[in-house]
Symmetry: C2
Subunit: 353 residues, 2 copies
Amino acid sequence: MAEPMAERKQAILRAVTDDYISTAEPVGSRTIARKYDMGISPATIRNEMADLEEEGYLEQPHASAGRIPSDKGYRFYVDALMLGRSISEVEKSRIRAEYGRRRDEIRSLVRATAKVLGEMSQYASVVVGPAVKGARIHHIQLVPLGSDSVLVVVVTSSGLVEHRLLAIEHSMTPADLDRLSAVLNDRLRGSTLADIRGRILRDLQIEVSAYASFLEDMFELLIDAVRSSDEDRVHIDGLMKLLAQPEFKEIEKARPILEFLESDGMVLSELSASSRGGGGRPEISIGSENSRDELRNCSIVSAPYGPGGRVIGAIAVVGPTRMDYSMVTALVGFVAERLSELLTRLDMHKSTE
Amino acid sequence: MAEPMAERKQAILRAVTDDYISTAEPVGSRTIARKYDMGISPATIRNEMADLEEEGYLEQPHASAGRIPSDKGYRFYVDALMLGRSISEVEKSRIRAEYGRRRDEIRSLVRATAKVLGEMSQYASVVVGPAVKGARIHHIQLVPLGSDSVLVVVVTSSGLVEHRLLAIEHSMTPADLDRLSAVLNDRLRGSTLADIRGRILRDLQIEVSAYASFLEDMFELLIDAVRSSDEDRVHIDGLMKLLAQPEFKEIEKARPILEFLESDGMVLSELSASSRGGGGRPEISIGSENSRDELRNCSIVSAPYGPGGRVIGAIAVVGPTRMDYSMVTALVGFVAERLSELLTRLDMHKSTE
DNA sequence: GATTAGCACTCTAGAGTCAGGAGTGCTAAT
DNA sequence: ATTAGCACTCCTGACTCTAGAGTGCTAATC
């Protein structure tokens, strides 16, 4: 058993998969003989297909229809059969153009990524931005807004800018705030927000005891910001594209997937699991391979990204199991790479100060 | 012509509409006689319904089915027939709770509004946040982030916080930036971003000529921020809820509406038109009353909001023409009012500085 | 021994038919 | 003016039937 699959059988499996991916119709022996001339008759192809079905690579929707790939068939296809494609120059420059303008702030970068992935893949796209939690503080600034409120701006080392308004009881002069900002920066730079809660806060409160309660409030706010910003990490696009796929014509088929995508929390846990793998090429999860049951009718192509090899988030494309793996893999790979590159450049700026 | 509709006819129209709204099935004379006992026989009801159809308030999907309200019928219903309902205390406190935590920043308020509207209405919700364009500058702050980049933070009088990273060529000390911040605040407070582009920029460049090119870059960035932030104004939620409605079971029916909602630009122009009306109670736009053709299969209930009577944005619920107008109108009204109230309070803080 | 032509068989999609049910419109009686 | 009665219409779902596609098997062929 487990002997390598014969050359010709592979060719047939590839043909069936290619054809089904592009037509969404079960494909029969006749079709293959006609479209992909491999010099053998439909009858021969039928025999091979019967074998492939027995081995679990193909299945029949009903007794007298053509064959379609099973999840196992798709798996073999992406691992061994699929012709690796790289995306065209036109597409590349399209992507670069999308990034051209907004190279400054990470959130708009993330959003642009979701948009370009959705539009170019014709499926749904997901981009998970960097977490605030655990990020190191790069800069913190208190901005006086009036007699009774202060804007707290925190910039993390990953380039994320968070801000919150804080009501204050006692008037503080701009000079006060500046001095406080300086102290805060001195003490907090490089710590994570989680760190702050404990030791550092206590130290600070002693040091600038006049502002003890102000600091208390401020950290409360920041902690809350961390919590709620996790929801903001997930950006979805191209839902409409997904719904345009024939497998989702009846909305019931799409509902589980849409519900999954609508729940930021689930997306987060799913994608951060898959992005641990790090490095290399995009990861492909096909139908029943997905850990969640509601995703057994779709496939996900994902890749982590981040500056200089560090992983801070992930991008993904979600489509039917009949998705164009070749195109999507190339696209996801290129975009993740491109995004990482941009972030690396941003990061360098920051470390050379 | 145009004599007032007889009492009983109105009762029948109301019954038909109520029933259709809750069952989504065409309703026949028999059903009405059974469910809403108004002491008359099905035959009488039939006669009245025939009249109502002739006058355009009802229509028949096909010759021997029950009746359903036409757009004109719904219009009469919402204007004259619908029993005004106010939302329950439970719901009110649910809404208040949603707002409880995040009273600080306008963007999270807007997002929370979209979420609560979607969940409680069971339809899609749209919230248009305040425009950056045209907003007055309340505060502007330059934050040094390293030797070669500066974070520009702008707070508008509507409470919107925008920020952008700016690469700089020549190193500027924190002190430089502080002085520059002070000058900028002095000169720009109260102007709109549009104003800046012209005269003020020139004056400033002369005054602090050392930073002329820096200022040029900065304003370039801000202008761009204004442009791109228009996209961010629109927040959608509850799309899934909309798709769960029986009229959208075949995705084709929903597509035009989804496409409309996905295009921020269209939503923006549509809603800002309707929010001009200002004040009072929610505006209801039914089916063919909508100016856009792709919306002829849905109804929109919208209301403007803003601090102290000023309109800065709008909220809306989008559902099938068979939507529960009574519930939605009450909900939209309450939420818009609540949101305006919160903003008014925020605004007062700001004007008492 | 592998390949292929031929053929019977199976299954689906779509068209046609039919009965049942819901609802109407009309008429005549109240 | 209202209503009971009834004929009529039209949809819905079940059933049947056919055409077409595709298979699997067998026997002939290379």
